[in-house]
């Protein structure tokens, strides 16, 4: 099948002089828009905030809106560390006494909660899970999302990569990158066309094989994620 990339967004970490994390956001107003739509956004952990922001931006470009009627749209993310930082933050709340443990933080110790937050806001009822694996960034999620779409399990699939590295982890890329895949249609604007084979192989229109999300973002060009607006998501 021919699939279209109808939305894409990248959020990457910028090293602040004081060592704190700041993020290059796809849109200066993204924090405010998300906070309006996600009433609990300020209570999300950073992993969920970054993931929601990238998903929100990619979905918005594809024409999806919070509050849309429920549809069979799915979302698969890759990532190595998941919610590890939140695991430690939650466990710290239990140390004085179990009765003082934070139920809110406990919910966010599951890396798929970011998917649930977005699915409930956007009405997405398709396949939703985390799938990581060997290979480049987001490869497992991309291949699985393409297969779900090709097999008719969803009207559209979002595939992405989301990583927040704990302070003790070796240095490496952090942030989120998300694309929206839909069956190609003449009446729908698209960023890029992809050919998905029955065995899950993915190629660009030029015939070049796609192995990772990075290949797609490379083909999309520098416009994605290049806005470079710096900011904090929890204080829009």
């Amino acid at each position: 099948m021919i699939a279209a990339v109808t939305g894409a967004a990248v959020i990457s970490r910028r090293q602040a002089p004081d060592g704190k994390r700041t993020w290059e956001l796809p849109d200066r107003d993204i924090g405010r828009m998300i906070a309006e739509r996600f009433p609990r956004f300020g209570r999300f952990d950073e992993y969920t905030q970054i993931g929601c922001a990238a998903i929100f931006a990619a979905a918005r470009e594809a024409g999806f809106r919070p509050g849309d009627p429920r549809r069979a749209i799915g979302l698969i993310l890759s990532g190595q560390y998941g919610s590890f930082d939140t695991d430690e933050a939650f466990y710290a709340t239990t140390l004085a006494a179990p009765e003082l443990a934070s139920p809110n933080l406990f919910s966010y110790t599951l890396p798929n909660i970011v998917i649930g937050e977005c699915a409930s806001q956007f009405g997405w009822m398709g396949p939703t899970y985390i799938l990581d694996g060997e290979g480049g960034r987001g490869r497992a999620a991309l291949v699985a999302a393409a297969a779900e779409l090709e097999n008719g399990c969803a009207e559209a699939m979002l595939a992405g990569w989301l990583e927040i590295r704990p302070a003790w982890a070796p240095p490496g890329p952090e942030g989120a990158a998300v694309i929206v895949l839909e069956p190609d249609a003449a009446n729908r604007p698209r960023r890029l066309a992809l050919e998905i084979s029955e065995t899950g192989g993915i190629r660009l229109g030029s015939g070049e094989p796609v192995e990772t999300l990075d290949d797609i973002f490379l083909a999309l060009g520098p416009s994605v994620g290049a806005a470079g607006h710096s900011g904090s998501l929890d204080q829009p």
Binding site: E88, A97, F106, S107, N112, A119, G133
Partner: protein
């Protein structure tokens, strides 16, 4: 579509594994006992279904999850190498986090570490690795993802492995959410009041017929349908109308080419919480109407084994297909009205050779697999 065979299934639980597990479940036994692994003071309940793992069984530098996994991995080493390994445990880092990251003795801690370690233990260096995470539906999602790989020809054989232990981390968390039962876990009971946690590990091998021939073994069951959906409702509360689970059941049955009347039994997620079980009954009524047929949960016996639950339940379902009966729902005294005639405290005969296994998890995820009886013999 390629025939997808469940070629091997190994489980370890508080009631053991293999035939002993099925026998214990059929006898209605429970593996719940007082937690000794950590001090349960302050929790809603001091009870959980833990596996006794003698210190001598733990190899130097290995954690409890690994000790549990070694019990189920050993029998698999005689098989030809698989092409793909999917790790589907949820909280394999609990011991690491609880230690304050002080002890090197609790490595591994990331999903990626577990999949690599499993590959090493099994001696299959060429296996491609994946890690699936979907809360308490993780291993069922792993099975669905693996089945899709085999069906699409992206892998000829997929081993889905999951394990989760009763940790202070998870126990305190579920206690804080008021999800634990202060007494006995009674799925689908009128007086149910929560879940208990359990240790569990499962390994399920999915393959096409070519691998089965190479392995020289017959299938336990065929996996003919699967689906993963989301409730689009809430991150921890199930949709009251069961819409996500209903959609998953229907999609899995469609893929299997079956209609609801052909389903012989339903292995429910059945955690014993008020809202989960109510949601499942709503969904069952939505898809199956007023039909009374066997519905059961094994979480009253084994506790909630988190990521491993779906794998263990899939193996129990395959064995049920072989024996022609499904286990009782341990803990059940008085089924709630909508469960009456479906859920019982005794063994029930399978109405057909088709059984559904369903799991749901935080994040709104639902996953369903359809298993069907085979005629036995080599593939």
């Amino acid at each position: 579509m390629t025939d997808i065979l469940l070629l091997a299934g190994e489980a370890e639980t508080a009631l053991g594994g293999g035939a002993a597990l099925q026998e214990a479940l059929n006898d209605g036994r429970s593996g719940a006992s007082r937690i000794r692994r950590f001090d349960p003071t302050g929790l809603v309940t001091p009870m959980a279904a833990c596996v006794g793992i003698p210190e001598a069984e733990r190899r130097a530098g290995e954690n409890l999850t690994q000790a549990l996994l070694r019990r189920i991995l050993s029998p698999l080493r005689e098989l030809p190498p698989v092409q793909t390994i999917i790790w589907a445990g949820v909280k394999g880092n609990a011991e690491y986090v609880e230690s304050g990251r002080a002890a090197g003795a609790v490595f591994p801690f990331l999903p990626r570490h577990y999949s690599r370690w499993i590959r090493d233990v099994l001696g299959w260096p060429d296996a491609d690795l994946r890690e699936a995470s979907a809360a308490c539906a993780s291993s069922t999602v792993g099975l669905a993802a693996g089945a899709r790989m085999v069906a699409d020809g992206r892998s000829r054989s997929v081993l889905v492995v999951a394990a989760d232990i009763v940790s202070r981390f998870s126990s305190v968390g579920f206690s804080a959410l008021n999800a634990l039962s202060p007494g006995v876990c009674r799925p689908f009971d009128d007086a149910r009041d929560g879940l208990i946690l359990g240790d569990g590990a499962a390994a399920c091998l999915l393959a096409g017929r070519a691998y089965a021939r190479e392995a020289g073994r017959g299938p336990m069951a065929r996996l003919t349908g699967w689906a993963v959906t989301n409730d689009a409702n809430h991150i921890t509360a199930p949709a009251r109308d069961g819409r996500g689970l209903s959609a998953a059941i229907r999609a899995a049955l469609d893929l299997a080419g079956r209609n609801p009347d052909e389903v012989g039994a339903f292995c429910a997620h059945g955690t014993g919480t008020v809202y989960n079980d109510a949601m499942e009954l709503t969904s069952i009524e939505t898809v199956f109407g007023n039909r009374r047929f066997p519905v059961f949960s094994i979480k009253g016996a084994l506790g909630h084994t988190l990521g491993a639950a779906g794998g263990i339940e899939t193996i129990v379902c395959a064995r049920a297909l072989e024996s022609g009966s499904v286990p009782p729902t341990a803990g059940l005294r008085t089924p709630e009205p909508r469960a009456a005639g479906r859920v019982t405290g005794g063994k029930q005969s399978l109405g057909s050779g088709v059984i559904l296994n369903a799991n749901s998890g935080f994040g709104g995820v639902n996953a369903v697999v359809v298993l069907e009886r085979t005629d036995g013999g080599e593939a």
